[in-house]
Amino acid sequence: MSDLYARHKAVLPDWLALYYKDPLEITHGEGRHVWGDDGRKYLDFFGGILTTMTAHALPEVTKAVTEQAGRILHSSTLYLNRPMVELAERIAQLSGIPDARVFFTTSGTEANDTALLLATTYRRSNQILAMRNSYHGRSFSAVGITGNRGWSPTSLSPLQTLYVHGGVRTRGPFARLSDADFIAACVADLKDLLGHTRSPAALIAEPIQGVGGFTSPPDGLYAAFREVLDEHGILWIADEVQTGWGRTGDNFWGWQAHGHSGPPDILTFAKGIGNGMSIGGVVARADIMNCLDANSISTFGGTQITMAAGLANLSYLLEHDLQGNARRVGGLLIERLRAVAAQLPVVREVRGRGLMIGIELVRPGTDEAHPDAAAAVLEAARAEGLLIGKGGGHNTSVLRIAPPLTLTVSEAEEGAAILERALGSVH
C-alpha cells in the first residue's frame, strides 16, 4: 500500500470509495490526458466524473483563473459581482426558460437541494415525484429522493417521494414495448399514481441518468409527462448536472430531447461548467425563484474565482462548437463500441448519446449484473492507459464513458481499441 493510500485510509471516511485496487493519484493533466504518480500517461474518458468538460489545463481557463486570482478570489453574494452577473446572463439566455433567474451554488447536490426548496415552497407541498434508478446528490434532502439503493445511505427525509416508471428503457415491465407504447404505459402509470396521492410539488428527473448508468427513456417521455403535470400545476425539474452543456451531442440540454411541451420550470446544472472549479446552480422562472420569503444568500456560490473560470470555459465551449464535436466524435465512438460489443456476450447493451456512453455488462447468457467484470474492465483499461468510470442502479453494472468534449477522432479510436481489448479479457 502506498504511503498516501495509507494516510487516506487513516484520516478519511471509509465510505469514500476509491477506484482501482491500487488507487491512482493524478498529478497533472493536459488536453484529454492525465498523468499518474506512477509516471504513466492516461487517456481520460471520465473527466473526474464528467467535470473536466472542455480539456485538462485548458489555457483559456487557466489564464482567466490566474488573472482573477491576482485581483480578488471572493466577496460573497452580499456585494455586486461582475463575473457572476455576466455568467448568470449567459446561462439565463442559454437555458431556454423564459424570464429566467439564476442562482449559483457550489455543487450539483446543493443546486438540486435548492430546486427542491423552491418547488416545495412554491407549491406548498412536500410530495416529490422522482424516477426509479435516479440520483440527485449526496445532501440529506437529495439522498431522500434518490432512487438508487447503492447511493442512498438513509431513508429519513423531510420529503415524501414517489417513484415513477420510465427512466430505464431496456429493463423493467415495459422494456419489451415499442417506444410509443413505452411512453404511453409510463404516462398511464403517472396518471394512476396522481389519482392516489396528494398533489406533488414537482417531478425531478435526469434526462439521461448519470450514476444510474447512463440510462434514459425514449425521447419525448418527459414532454408527455409534462402535459399531465401541467394539468395539476406540478413543476418539472430537469436535473442537467451530467447532461448539460452539449455533452449529449444532439442537444445543448438533455431536456431538449423532451422539449415539445416546452422547457422545464426549473433546471439545475453543475459539473462541466467550471471545468473543475466548483460551480452549481439553479435556473427557474422568476415567479418560482422569487417565492422564498426569507433571506437566503450563499457565501461561496458565485464567488469571483469560479465565475471567471466558468465564463472562460463556456466561451471556449461555444466558440469551438464542442456540442457538435461531441455529436460527431461521440457518434463514431458509440459505433465503434457497438461493433466491439457485437462480439462479446458479456456486453448487454451499449447506450447513450454524444460523449455520454454506457456499456452494461452481464453474466453471459443472462440479464444478471456482473460487477466483477465491470471492475476487471476498469482495471484492464487502466493497465493499458485508459481511465473510465462505472455505475448502474440495483442489479446492473455499467461502464461509464464521458471524456472531455474536445476529444479527437484519433483519441476516440485509441480509447475504443483499448476498450476492445479490456472487454475481451473478461468473461
Binding site: G331, L332, E335, R336, R338, A339, V340, A342, Q343, E413, A416, A417, G424
Partner: protein
C-alpha cells in the same frame, strides 16, 4: 510549380571528359568537394577575378600574373572562394612548372577543388567542350519537360484514364511509378509488372523509411490543389540524373492534379484501385498470391488475418466505406461490374467474424430503413489464397437472392446455406436442358399477350412466399378475390394445378431458371 532543375555537370564529371583526361588532370586540393555543380567555365588570368564571377564557375588559369607573389596567390584563391567558384584549374607550364604549394594549401583550407593539368592544352577547347555540353543538357531538360508535358496534356484532353497518365510517366521514367494518398496507401501503379511487384512487396516499410531522403533514385512530388496536399507520386529507383527525375515527377504531379480537377476526386481514385484489385481477385485471372502485394499496398492488413468476403446488391461503395470506417473495421470496398458492391473485410484472428458481419449488416439496415439491404456473405477465409473463391461464393449468393428479398423476408446476412434451390438453379442456368425445361414449363405465360405476362410477377411472389395467398395479395396490393382470379388465370395458361405439390414445384424451378437467365 518551381522547377529545381539546374542542368549542370559536376566538377568530377568535367574531369572525366576525354578532352580533359588528355591533359592529365590531378586534383591537388579540395578533393572532398568534387560533386559541386559547374554552371559555367570561365578563363581568367586577372588577379581580381573574384569580382567577375557570380558563383558556380570553373575557373581556368595559367597563373601567369600570380607567379612569384605568394601573397597574391593566396588572395587569388580566397577571392575565388568568396565568389563561390566551383573549382580552379591551373595549367602547369611557364608560370608554374609544378603545383604551387601556397595555392594548394590555401585551396585546401577553403575547401575549393584545385586541379592542375600536367599537359595543358588550349583552354578554348575545354570551354567549348564543357559549354556545349551544358547547353545541350539545358536544352535536353527543357525539351524533355516540354515533350512530357505535351504528351500528358494530350492524354488529359483525350479524357484518358488515370492509368494512361501513369503509364506515360513510367515510359519516360523507365522505372515503377506509384501514386499514393497521404497515408501511403497505393492508389495506382505503372511500370514493368515485376519491378512494381518488387516495390510493393515491402511497401509499408519502404514508403515510410524512404521518407525525406531522395537517394537511391527515389523521387517524389506532392499532389496538391486548393492549398491542400492529398497525395504524392513516387518514381521508384529512377536511374537518370536526379534533376531530370525531379522534373519528370513534377510534370507528372501537375498532370495528375489537372486530371483530378477535371475528372473527379481522389476518393474515386482510391475506389478505382480497390475495384481493380477486387475485380482481379474475383475473376481469378491473376493468382491470388500475386495480388497480395497490391492488397497490402492498398492498406488492407493481410498478416495473420481472417478475410470475410461480402457482396451487397445495389450497395453504394462510398456509403459502405463510410460505415466500415465508422465501425472501425478494416476492409476494401468496390463496385463490381454488375451493380453489386464487394466488401472484403480483414479481421484480426481473435475477432468474431460472424457477429461482426451481422453487426455490419444490421448497421446498414438501420441506415436504410425503407429498403431491407441484404448482405451476402461467404464463410470467413483464413488463407488469402481462398479469398477469390469466397468472393465468388458471396457474389453467387447475392445473385441468387437478388430481387426476391421482399418476398423471401431474408435475414440481414445471407449465406450459401440460405439460398437453397435458387443457388443450384443459378449454377445450372447455362445448361441447355434446363433452359428448354424452363421455356416448356412457362410457355403459356411467356408467349401470352401482355396481360398474361403481367401474371409472371404474381406467380413469382406466390411461389416465393410458399403459396401464401394473403401475403402475396398484400405484397401486390390487391384484394384476395382479385388474387384468386389471377391465380386461376395462371393455372389456365400453364395448364397446371398449383395446389398439386409436384406441379407447383416444377413451375417454381422453371421460374427460378427463367429468372436466372435474365441476369
Amino acid at each position: 510549380m518551381a522547377t529545381a532543375l539546374e542542368p549542370a555537370l559536376s566538377v568530377r564529371q568535367v574531369l572525366t571528359l576525354d578532352r580533359v583526361l588528355a591533359g592529365e588532370p590531378e586534383v591537388v586540393a579540395g578533393a572532398g568537394h568534387l560533386d559541386r555543380p559547374v554552371r559555367w567555365v570561365h578563363v581568367a588570368e586577372a588577379p581580381d577575378v573574384g569580382v567577375m564571377l557570380s558563383g558556380g564557375e570553373m575557373v581556368l588559369t595559367t597563373g601567369v600574373l600570380l607567379a612569384g607573389d605568394e601573397h597574391k596567390q593566396t588572395e587569388y584563391i580566397r577571392s575565388l572562394h568568396r565568389a563561390e567558384a566551383a573549382a580552379v584549374v591551373l595549367g602547369l607550364g611557364r608560370a608554374f612548372p609544378v603545383p604551387p604549394d601556397v595555392m594548394r594549401r590555401a585551396a585546401e583550407r577553403c575547401g575549393l577543388p584545385m586541379v592542375v593539368l600536367h599537359r595543358p592544352f588550349p583552354f578554348a577547347e575545354l570551354t567549348e567542350e564543357v559549354q556545349s555540353r551544358l547547353v545541350r543538357r539545358k536544352f535536353a531538360a527543357v525539351s524533355l519537360s516540354e515533350s512530357v508535358r505535351t504528351a500528358l496534356t494530350g492524354l488529359i484532353t483525350a479524357c484518358a484514364p488515370l492509368q494512361g497518365l501513369l503509364d506515360e510517366i513510367a515510359v519516360h521514367a523507365g522505372c515503377p511509378v506509384i501514386l499514393t494518398n497521404l497515408a501511403h496507401r497505393v492508389l495506382a501503379t505503372a511500370g514493368e509488372r515485376s519491378a512494381v511487384d518488387d516495390v510493393l512487396r515491402d511497401w509499408e516499410r519502404i514508403a515510410r523509411q524512404a521518407g525525406g531522403s531522395e537517394g537511391d533514385g527515389w523521387v517524389r512530388a506532392e499532389l496538391s490543389g486548393g492549398g491542400e496536399r492529398w497525395g504524392r507520386i513516387v518514381l521508384c529507383g529512377y536511374r537518370g540524373d536526379h534533376p531530370i527525375g525531379r522534373l519528370l515527377a513534377e510534370r507528372g504531379a501537375e498532370a495528375l492534379v489537372l486530371h483530378r480537377m477535371l475528372h473527379g476526386s481522389a476518393h474515386s481514385w482510391e475506389e478505382q484501385s480497390a475495384r481493380g484489385l477486387l475485380t482481379d481477385l474475383v475473376s481469378g485471372a491473376v493468382p491470388a498470391r500475386q495480388l497480395l502485394p497490391r492488397a497490402r499496398a492498398a492498406g488492407l492488413p493481410v498478416n495473420r488475418r481472417t478475410f470475410v468476403p461480402l457482396v451487397v446488391r445495389d450497395g453504394d461503395p462510398v456509403h459502405l466505406d463510410r460505415v466500415l470506417r465508422l465501425l472501425g473495421l478494416s476492409g476494401l470496398v468496390a463496385e463490381l461490374a454488375d451493380g453489386a458492391a464487394a466488401v472484403l473485410l480483414s479481421l484480426a484472428r481473435d475477432q468474431d467474424a460472424e457477429s461482426l458481419t451481422a453487426h455490419f449488416a444490421a448497421r446498414l439496415r438501420t441506415e436504410h430503413q425503407a429498403g431491407g439491404t441484404v448482405v451476402a456473405a461467404a464463410d470467413a477465409r483464413a488463407a488469402w489464397e481462398e479469398v477469390p473463391e469466397g468472393l465468388r461464393e458471396a457474389r453467387h449468393v447475392a445473385d441468387a437472392v437478388a430481387d426476391h428479398s421482399a418476398a423471401l423476408d431474408l435475414p440481414p446476412v445471407v449465406r450459401l446455406r440460405d439460398v437453397h434451390l435458387r443457388g443450384l438453379v443459378r449454377l445450372l442456368r447455362d445448361d441447355p436442358h434446363v433452359q428448354s425445361f424452363a421455356e416448356r414449363e412457362l410457355d403459356g405465360l411467356l408467349r401470352g399477350r401482355e396481360t398474361e405476362q403481367e401474371l409472371l410477377p404474381v406467380l413469382r411472389t406466390y411461389l416465393a412466399t410458399g403459396r401464401n395467398k394473403s401475403r402475396t395479395a398484400q405484397l401486390h396490393h390487391v384484394s384476395r378475390p382479385a388474387l384468386y382470379r389471377r391465380l386461376e388465370a395462371i393455372q389456365a395458361c400453364l395448364g397446371v394445378d398449383l395446389d398439386d405439390f409436384e406441379q407447383a414445384a416444377s413451375v417454381h424451378i422453371a421460374l427460378l431458371a427463367h429468372d436466372a437467365q435474365q441476369r
